[in-house]
Symmetry: C2
Subunit: 124 residues, 2 copies
C-alpha cells in the first residue's frame, strides 16, 4: 500500500492550483533567484509575492535561504515527487477503467448501430 499523506498532498496541489505560483516555479526552474527576481514579471506587490513563496515553501516545492538581506529561492523536489507519486498511482486505475470504458463504448456502438461488423455510418 502506498501511503499518501493527505495534508501534504493538500498543500502541494493547492500550491500548484495557482497560475502565479506555477509561473514562479517555471521561473525558478531556469535558475535560483531572489524574491525580487521572482516578483519582477508580476504586477503585484512584494508582500503578495512573499506570501506565494511561503505557500510554495510549505508545500515542499521551493526552498528559501537567506543570504545577507536577500532571500534566494530554489526548487525543492519533495513536493513535486509527492504529487507525481499520487498521479502515477492513480493513473494505473485510470487506465484500467479506460480500457473497460473503451470496450463498453465499442459494444454500445455496435448495439446502437444494429450491426456487428459494419463501419461507422457517420464516419464521425
Amino acid at each position: 500500500m502506498v501511503k499518501h499523506s493527505s495534508a501534504a498532498l493538500d498543500r502541494v496541489f493547492h500550491a500548484l492550483a495557482d497560475p502565479t505560483r506555477r509561473a514562479m516555479l517555471q521561473r525558478i526552474a531556469g535558475g535560483d533567484c531572489s524574491v525580487s527576481d521572482l516578483a519582477q514579471p508580476f504586477n503585484m506587490s512584494l508582500a503578495a509575492v512573499s506570501k506565494h513563496i511561503t505557500v510554495l515553501e510549505s508545500a515542499g516545492l521551493l526552498r528559501r535561504k537567506k543570504e545577507g538581506r536577500t532571500s534566494w529561492c530554489s526548487l525543492e523536489p519533495k513536493g513535486l515527487r509527492a504529487a507525481e507519486a499520487w498521479l502515477r498511482y492513480y493513473e494505473k486505475f485510470w487506465n484500467t477503467r479506460l480500457d473497460a470504458l473503451e470496450s463498453i463504448l465499442k459494444k454500445s456502438k455496435m448495439t446502437k448501430g444494429g450491426r456487428r461488423h459494419g463501419k461507422s455510418p457517420t464516419g464521425k
Copy 2:
C-alpha cells in the same frame, strides 16, 4: 513548446487539492458508482457531495451520466493527463536544477570546510 492551458490546470490542481475529492476519485477508481455510492463513506450532505462532483467534473477528472433518476460517475482521463503532463514537463527542470544544486553544495561544503579535498568535518 508545450502549451499548458492555465485555467484548465487551475481547475485540475484545485480539484485535487481536497482530500474528500481525492478519496472520491479513489473510490471511483474501483469502479463506476452512483452519487449516493460516492457519498456513503463521507459524513456530509448529498448536496455537498454533489458540489464536489461538479468540481471534479469541470476539472475533467470525472464524468457524470444520468440514467433514470440516478447519476453514474466514472473516471475521465483528460484532467489527470493534463496534470501529469505539467508535472513531467517540469520534472525535467527539477532534475537539472537538482544536479546543479548538488554540485554547488558539494563545492560550497569544500569551501566552507576550508580545504579542497578533505572529508566532511562533522560527518553530517
